[in-house]
């Protein structure tokens, strides 16, 4: 019974990005900077991750030690922290489509990479993402002017605070991985 529930939940998570084709929902999410960055992006990545682990074949031949997965995920995260990128996605349909696609694809790659990643790579990835999120979050919080033409200052402050918290969370996660290296090595390295 629990397996059936887990499978149903998994299918829901995988299919959930299709809900973003429903304009009112997507506009509600993207109408707030906080939701845009902290709900829509992770949502797409988690959906891609779940989908990717079910695929029979991915880009595995190009993904020794999970390096391609972390490179793509880090690149996507870095690009979409640029304020001009957020605005561009809201003002241009092609950019919007690319944004949705790359977050989802990054999730697919990362989901497939994760099991083959050595713990050191995981710690590097999480640590890198942590400082990036925290730095951008602090910048969003400390800048008085609006960095995005589509968002208000208070929304920018909220998104900045959430990014700092995400950075702390990811940093904590990196420490957790660091403290149990042997278990990860057994499970992760081929």
């Amino acid at each position: 019974m629990s397996t059936a529930w887990a499978a149903a939940a998994r299918r829901f998570v995988e299919g959930a990005p299709l809900l973003l084709l429903f304009d009112p929902l997507r506009q509600a999410l993207e109408g707030r900077m906080l939701l845009h960055m902290m709900v829509e992006f992770p949502w797409l990545m988690v959906a891609g991750w779940c989908f990717g682990t079910r695929l029979r074949r991915g880009a595995d031949a190009f993904d020794a030690h999970g390096l391609l997965g972390i490179t793509v995920a880090s690149a996507v995260a870095a690009f979409w922290m640029i304020p001009a990128a957020l605005d561009a996605s809201l003002l241009s349909t092609p950019v919007q489509v690319v944004k949705l696609a790359v977050w989802w694809l990054a999730g697919i790659l990362l989901g497939r990479s994760w099991p083959r990643m050595p713990v050191e790579t995981k710690v590097f990835f999480l640590g890198n993402l942590a400082w990036m999120a925290a730095t951008v979050g602090l910048l969003y919080q400390s800048t008085e002017r609006r960095l995005c033409a589509n968002y208000l200052s208070d929304d920018q402050q909220l998104a900045g605070g959430a990014l700092v918290m995400l950075g702390v969370l990811l940093g904590g996660l990196a420490v957790v991985f660091m403290l149990r290296p042997s278990k990860e090595r057994e499970a992760g390295i081929e």
Binding site: A61, I82, A88
Partner: protein, 219 residues
């Protein structure tokens, strides 16, 4: 049910090549987006586009506070050669009213020195729902817009508004309490609708000074 992912033996060389391509794609995308890593926000990109003279507004169809159809920056003889444009909504209690005051000062300054409207002032409302002719007329009366030197108008249709805002890269967002916030303040446009300058609310004197050379007749 899903099956376990099939493992293909990965090659380090191919992996490094794929990572290099990914990083190159990131750099190329960021380079294009930020105009060579010089503009990280929408407004900074807009400022660079302004410097390059690449922001051009197609002439919008406007309805003035007098109920007349008005098309600025047209080729018609006697048309103004420079326009100072701002975006307003007449129910705005704060900065729009201040800007209305600045435009009144600019109107007075222009009326002192020029016989015809070589430099025109144009206040465009983006609140199509509330800013009907009566609301525009009340706004024009409040700020003493004379309807010739300074025209208060609203785009004829949502498409006209959308096109004008897009052309000038103006983004209007609801402020959550019934009002709006938008980027940009005073826009200086030439007779072809090309954006030639952007000025803050308190830089109206500089805006006027920049508009005057554009309004001078060609030698």
């Amino acid at each position: 049910m899903g099956s376990a992912p099939r493992r293909t033996s990965p090659h380090l060389g191919a992996t490094l090549a794929a990572c290099a391509i990914t990083l190159a794609a990131l750099l190329a995308a960021a380079h294009g987006l930020t105009r060579g890593f010089k503009a990280w926000t929408y407004d900074e990109r807009r400022a660079l586009d302004l410097q390059h003279g690449s922001i051009v507004a197609r002439p919008p169809a406007l309805l003035s506070s007098r109920g007349e159809l008005h098309q600025p920056w047209s080729d018609a003889p006697g048309s103004p050669r420079a326009y100072l444009v701002d975006f307003v909504y007449t129910s705005c209690p704060g900065v729009c009213q201040v800007l209305g005051g600045e435009f009144a000062r600019m109107q007075a300054a222009l009326q002192e020195v020029q016989a015809g409207p070589s430099v025109a002032l144009l206040s465009v409302s983006f609140d199509l729902e509330r800013d009907d002719r009566a609301a525009l007329a009340a706004y024009a009366r409040l700020h003493r817009a004379d309807g010739t030197q300074w025209i208060v108008a609203v785009p004829r249709s949502p498409d006209d508004l959308d096109r004008l805002l897009r052309d000038l890269q103006v983004v209007v967002v609801p402020d959550g309490s019934g009002g709006f916030v938008h980027n940009g303040a005073i826009h200086l446009l030439d007779a072809q609708g090309r954006l030639r300058g952007l000025f803050a609310y308190d830089e109206w004197r500089e805006a006027l000074a920049a508009a005057r050379p554009l309004a001078e007749p060609p030698p």
